[in-house]
Amino acid sequence: MRAPRNWWVALPVLFGLFFVVPLLGLVWFALTEGDVASELRSSATWEALRLSVLTATLTLVLAVLLGTPLAYLLAASEAGWARLTATLLDLPLVLPPVVSGIALLTVFGRRGYLGDPLSEAGLTLSFTTAAVVLAQLFVAAPYYVRAAYAGFAAMDPRFEGVAYTLGLSRWRTFRSVTLPLVWPALAGGAVLCWARALGELGATLLFAGSLPGRTQTMPLAILSAFESNAGLAGAVSIAVILVAFALVLMVLLHRASTPSGAYR
């Protein structure tokens, strides 16, 4: 598709700049007013970054492992329950993250509805790194499931049918026919999920708490810096490190998710 070249192209371009310019402003501010260098040397910052990457990646892995079968089932089923579940899965997207955090507490917290059974099993979830993953999973997994669901639903069911008649088992069909066809949708959803998990703040704070090294992810570290004497400059310095890191990964992931070959 060839892009148009009329005067009104200016509008979309301006809108695009709306996203680029503040990011550039952030970087400039950090470099001139902040102390990025000292933050880069600070082990606390790297600790927070390591924690963020670890938890976000774990969240993604769980979302993919558990969410893919769910999305497939939802897309394959025509029953009413499927549509209802799909709608419910969208709820964490609409809920303020803080509310999500409270929701998780009411069930998995020490005094939550599942609190007693869990502690009897020796599992205390809140204030652990696992809790961070749980909070991130709650808010970010729906992004993946939606994308996967859309991908599976958009696929022509005839391909799977033909594969079955060719003698391919369900699993082989899924691996060799379905997945390659919906791969771009899944990859796109994975990127969104990972990004959302990385940036999660409210639910994590409420459910997992904020303790350096154990639960203080990058966003919480940035918040903590903002609230501290270092103020805005301190927060921005850390933020820029996160932005740079995320940017590099986004580019790499994006490359991997665009379809290769022209079977559009």
Binding site: L211, E227, S228
Partner: protein, 263 residues
């Protein structure tokens, strides 16, 4: 013969009254928009004053009925940052001198006035088995404190430094979260997610089913420091006096603060 009055077309008349109406409306809006209305006082106050300050302001308003207040509560360190970034208000009340000093350094605030003091305590549920600070060192106890730069967090550090080193280490091991403000720490305690929280005495007084455990007395109280901001447009001298008056003293005490009386 009566001189005929020149007939003014209806449209012209309507236009005139319409224009007059618009001017009136504009005037009203400008007045309401009130940037720098002398009768509205904007206050930025530490979040631990959330319950007591409105009462004191109401008391003041009875004597000064033309005054209205716009109050914003947040962590003192957060407010200081916002003021540094250009937030405009008339009065700043910080929960400790440290945050106040940040603004003094940049000449953003005027003279200090201490208006009340508070104490840091350990809050536990009413039926808790924890009786003394040392009990916090037991294993399995989960404690919520505030972040190091939050005024309450600064006090917490000072308190721990006053304890026996081994006990302090055990207590630190039981800390599960460093929250951005006291409210969050408190709600964790209320929800039963933690067993104890380092909060203010006034927070314990304000919440049902909690009791307080004293910290070493060598830990001084923290003072609430008020000052007029450089961006102030309203006159707050009377208000500042009111904070340290007898009438206000009763309200401070009832909430658990220690009033400061100016002789």
């Amino acid at each position: 013969m009566v001189a005929e009055r020149p007939l003014v077309p209806i449209t012209r008349r309507r236009w005139r009254s319409g224009a007059a109406g618009l001017v009136l409306l504009a005037a009203v809006f400008l007045l309401l928009g009130g940037c720098g209305d002398a009768h509205t006082i904007r206050v930025l106050a530490a979040s631990s004053l959330q319950d007591v300050l409105p009462e004191i302001l109401d008391d003041y308003a009875e004597a000064h009925p033309e005054t209205t207040f716009q109050v914003q509560f947040a962590g003192s360190q957060s407010l200081a940052t916002q003021i540094e970034l250009g937030a405009k208000a008339d009065l700043f009340i910080s929960a400790n001198a440290q945050q106040f000093a940040r603004l003094e350094a940049d000449d953003l605030v005027g003279e200090r006035t201490v208006i009340a003091t508070n104490r840091l305590v350990v809050a536990v549920p009413h039926g808790s088995a924890i009786e003394r600070v040392e009990d916090l060192a037991r294993s399995g106890i989960r404690i919520a404190i505030t972040a190091p730069d939050v005024p309450a967090g600064v006090l917490t550090e000072q308190a721990l430094a006053l304890l026996d080193f081994a006990i302090a280490e055990e207590i630190r091991a039981g800390v599960v979260t460093e929250d951005p403000n006291v409210r969050i720490a408190l709600s964790r305690l209320e929800l039963g997610e933690v067993d104890a929280a380092f909060v203010y005495l006034t927070d314990v007084e304000a919440t049902a089913d909690l009791r307080s455990i004293d910290l070493p007395s060598a830990l001084g109280p923290n003072s609430y420091v008020a000052g007029v901001l450089e961006s102030a447009t309203a006159d707050v001298a009377d208000l500042l006096e009111h904070f340290t008056s007898d009438a206000a003293a009763g309200i401070w005490r009832a909430a658990g603060f220690e009033p400061v009386e100016v002789r």
